[in-house]
């Protein structure tokens, strides 16, 4: 897939799917914290994480979400996509070092070149950690 890869609204069918995987390293989590201004939370402090139900550090939900946007912007529908809305629910934590897999599936073709896309995230290859649905507008 080239830099400016995109699929037109007409070329997309309900049921089309794409995937994207990434390892959630400590470095990525700390860099994400810096960008959004999180300086002292259970995401970056082992001490604070001990007091949570998770016992150890987990990734930011918004960080996981940004890889949904990456998958949408690179693969389905790709370049030039406009992100209109999103609803999502977190079901399980993602720990530092886990590999996540974002799964996209076209659910509906809407008017004005928009698509409804299922945006789920799995941890490793099995447990569903986030389920969601986004509405996006294709480039063309």
């Amino acid at each position: 897939m080239g830099k400016y890869y995109y699929r037109t609204w007409e070329s997309i069918s309900i049921g089309d799917r794409e995937e994207f995987s990434i390892e959630m390293t400590d470095d990525l989590v700390r860099r994400f914290s810096n960008v959004i201004g999180d300086t002292d939370s259970f995401h970056i402090s082992d001490e604070a994480a001990k007091d949570t139900v998770f016992q150890k550090r987990i990734c930011h939900g918004a960080h996981l979400l940004s890889y949904v946007c990456v998958a949408i912007g690179q693969k389905l529908p790709g370049f030039g996509t406009i992100y209109c809305s999103h609803e999502f629910e977190f079901l399980e934590p993602v720990y530092i070092g886990d590999t996540i897999r974002v799964e996209l599936e076209v659910l509906e073709k809407l008017d004005h070149h928009r698509l409804a896309i299922r945006t789920d995230i799995y941890r490793g290859d099995s447990s569903l950690v986030m389920k969601g649905k986004a509405v996006v507008k294709t480039y063309k």
Binding site: I22, R31, I36, G37, V53, G61, A62, G73, G80, S85
Partner: protein, 141 residues
């Protein structure tokens, strides 16, 4: 850091953060996430797009909402359970965004809080709206 538990919360309570979205914020975000879409990182391309200039990533703006939830209301220890987001207008580099969260509903039996989440720009225009569902830290932590 101070955190609020269910008992400390009441409907209508709010908190916010205001931040100017710099070019550096957008490039750091692009670097961390790998989202190098030219709408965010190529002014020449962006000038020919419907937005006319580079815009910030939607999740960067949404990230401000999550940082208000996690750092102020309810604060440290908060678990983010879900969110709805609607992107109403673009955020340009240099815009000053205020992310506000306001308690809309308390569900003590499940230790859940629903908050209205809204981001406005320097002109008071709403750029993002939605609702978050969170679980505040319990007092005995």
């Amino acid at each position: 850091m101070k955190f609020l538990t269910m008992e400390d919360l009441s409907i209508g309570q709010e908190a916010s953060v205001t931040r100017t979205i710099s070019e550096s914020d957008v490039y750091l975000f692009a670097g961390v996430t790998g989202d190098q879409n030219p709408a965010h990182t190529n002014e020449v391309y962006a000038s020919s797009s419907s937005f006319s200039h580079r815009i910030a990533h939607g999740m960067l703006t949404a990230g401000l909402v999550s940082s208000v939830l996690g750092m102020q209301l309810p604060g440290p220890g908060t678990i983010y359970l879900g969110q709805t987001l609607k992107f109403c207008a673009p955020v340009y580099i240099g815009d000053t965004i205020t992310a506000t969260v306001k308690v809309a509903e308390l569900i003590p039996e499940k230790n859940r809080v629903i908050l209205d989440t809204v981001c406005t720009n320097q002109d008071g225009k709403i750029v993002l709206s939605g609702q978050a569902t969170v679980m505040p830290q319990k007092s005995a932590a």
